[in-house]
Symmetry: D2
Subunit: 252 residues, 4 copies
């Protein structure tokens, strides 16, 4: 079972334009620092947060309990001009978990309701015994040589965004999620996805748009260790000159 | 003329896996804080930075000179475990500017070259008289009501990413760029794009994928003021119940 | 028993002037952000860090184990241009604890040795049953009315620094420490100090230099809760119009 | 003439205990990040901020105008739960400047008045021609060998605080200020203080409390460059094996 938390800034849209639109650079700094801050706090308990839409962030939070969530909310309230609400759900797939996490929060009121504030809505938490996270770290083969060092920066960005769109489209069908984590890297919480299925998706996208990915897969009872094993899986592929497409890392 | 700067972390990819892969949450925090930091420094001179791929950021930097760029590089070197290189270019369209900014930096060596470090490659700077920035602030109509409060968080994220992909695809043909700035918001540096062209793009995408956008457009001699006018343009559309699709804001 | 950790930047002095002196504002930002960062990480486990000399910070860390310390070290290494070493000690008084924490670290090499790096030297950790923290939150009576709103800002600063010097001088004799925490506020880890002794110190200083303090005292098995009770003790004194000098807060 | 700005958090004391005392670690993080943030913004214009009491900060701001101050206030309002007011003054000595900066702000209302908010009170700004800043960077001789590596961390801290108290006491008589900047380092804005007077103060303190200081002195039309020259002055003394007590650095 994978546990996911939705972190949502309360009534953020209206705040950004009250009384007049706030300076865009200030909003960008606020959002990036809030993400970094929430990440650091979840990370001390081996969670992993994805910036998603910045005003709505999704996190894999196996092993992180009600009090931990509450303390993060309190810490944000004390240091930011905004507050956050959270929903928490668990499921067999990441898609299912975030769906439940969203629903329990939606039931408490709308994101732009001025009444709803600092909600902590927990549908369920994963037990230690059932805790299981599968992560795939996916990147694009040879992006620095073929793109970064050769085409305009925005074209590279466009290609990475295109890859993201195609990966998301396929993975969501299997109950897996996909998040951009910078550079040419994506992280996919993907409980329930087999290495074969992932390989097929990567090959399909290669045929469709000519972009070649590779993926390291890691498994653990928490997000941090699963992501680390996925990183190691990717290293194994690199050491083998990218001949493998998917490598599931296992400690021996 | 619009001036753009490419900000690139030196030799970042190799660093992230040396000697073993670094903790993913630490990398996420590092990237988000670096972005916030660079933003804050460019913003004191009315520039605006887009996070782009985090290890490669693009910024509109009209009015920001060589010494300003150098001081930002120095400040990053003194406080981060990494250094940054920058390329600066100017052009009639944002696409052209970033293309030149990329080229002058690429000529100094590869992004993952261990020799290339803290390059500041300036092709040209915009004069005060020629300085001109056009920005469009584009958002999705009614995203909170139709998506955020009703469908799973990841589905909303998926739709926003899809919108981004389609907008990028069309805008790049006209020499305009597009950056996600959080929520359901995009900022498009778009010198040379007419309001009619922008309206046509928005209507085309509505037909193709059923997502309805609106756009405020602002113009100034610097990024900050252009973005602010674009925000005000969007407010005008909202006050008119979203009947307009594109509004060019003009101070009267 | 109170547990204290010494957090020391490795070889920091030499780094600040290599190859030439680094920009002072950058160093100030680095130090303040490092403090904020270490604080946030210890705080997720109910520890409390004092900025002390910034390159050497002292923290009350009851309940925080070896792995927690190690993870903080790793996180700093991944995001800063410097690394940190730590020593941990326990004792009946805070003075004793920090003395041991310093010694175990000193034994591993000098603060400016280029060989010594990322040491984690733990003399002992407090058991759950023996864990006990007493904190006094001390402030100056009526500082806003008498000083902030009436005399030059630096004179107020001078008075607060003078108060700190006198408080430190007396408290250290009893095995208690004193840290400035901003405004006119001090926090004193003070296991072993009786309310009577604290009252005597405050009255002595009032006679000597004419500055009148008050103190809330809190007790718990961790730093956060002890500090919070100390805050509540101070609130009780304020509600009684500052007639009490020392109030030990007790939950009823 | 030296220009100083007082930066004061509006109505901060009451906010920290409303509705109940806020978590101490959160307040510490808020204060440190606010300081780092304000520092970074003033530093882009060659100003230098001292943390002072955190809720009241003093800055040397030669060359920084009304709009610059206003933009910093706006940026803080958009990203923090608190707002700041500022007073600006100029004078022949730093003491005089900060006195005026304090007075113009005090005239607008008390620091804990709930009415007073985001005041920007400027008595005067320094002209380019009259702009002059003298800074002394003072440190303690051999603190790492004699203290950091040999006595408990808090004892070193105590000695540094004692040194600060004695330095402040003497310097204020001459119109100079003194700020702790971490480690065993102090920065003294000291327009009007002669090298002979500084040497006499250092020798007097050596006799009184046995602590030996040295000082590099720098002069420029802005805080950053004056501080940098002071750093270089200190390096000259170190290279001469600390035989000099005061060295005024001059570019040749």
């Amino acid at each position: 079972m994978i546990q996911m938390s939705l972190i949502q800034i309360d009534n953020y849209g209206p705040w950004t334009v009250t009384p007049t639109p706030r300076n865009e650079s200030d909003l960008q700094i606020l959002q990036a620092e809030l993400y970094a801050d929430v990440q650091r706090q979840f990370a001390t308990k081996k969670g992993l947060v994805f910036f998603t839409r910045f005003d709505n962030m999704l996190a894999v939070t196996n092993g992180i309990n009600r009090e931990d969530h509450f303390r993060i909310q309190r810490s944000i309230r004390n240091r930011y001009p905004i507050t956050i609400s959270m929903g928490v759900g668990t499921g067999k797939t990441p898609y299912e978990s975030q769906k439940i996490a969203t629903q329990v929060l939606q039931e408490k009121g709308g994101a732009q309701s001025s009444d709803r504030k600092e909600i902590l809505a927990i549908d369920s938490l994963v037990n230690k015994e059932d805790s299981y996270v599968q992560m795939a770290h996916i990147d694009i083969n040879g992006v620095t040589e073929s793109l970064t060092d050769n085409v305009p920066a925005f074209d590279t960005n466009f290609m990475v965004n295109k890859a993201q769109h195609y990966l998301m489209t396929e993975l969501i069908k299997k109950g897996a999620l996909l998040f951009f984590i910078g550079g040419d890297n994506f992280m996919s919480p993907c409980n329930g996805l087999s290495p074969k299925q992932l390989k097929d998706i990567i090959e399909k996208i290669h045929k469709e748009i000519g972009i070649k990915h590779k993926a390291g897969v890691g498994r653990s009872d928490n997000a941090e260790d699963a992501a680390y094993s996925a990183d190691l899986g990717l290293e194994v592929i690199r050491q083998g000159n990218n001949k493998e497409i998917v490598h599931v890392f296992k400690d021996e």
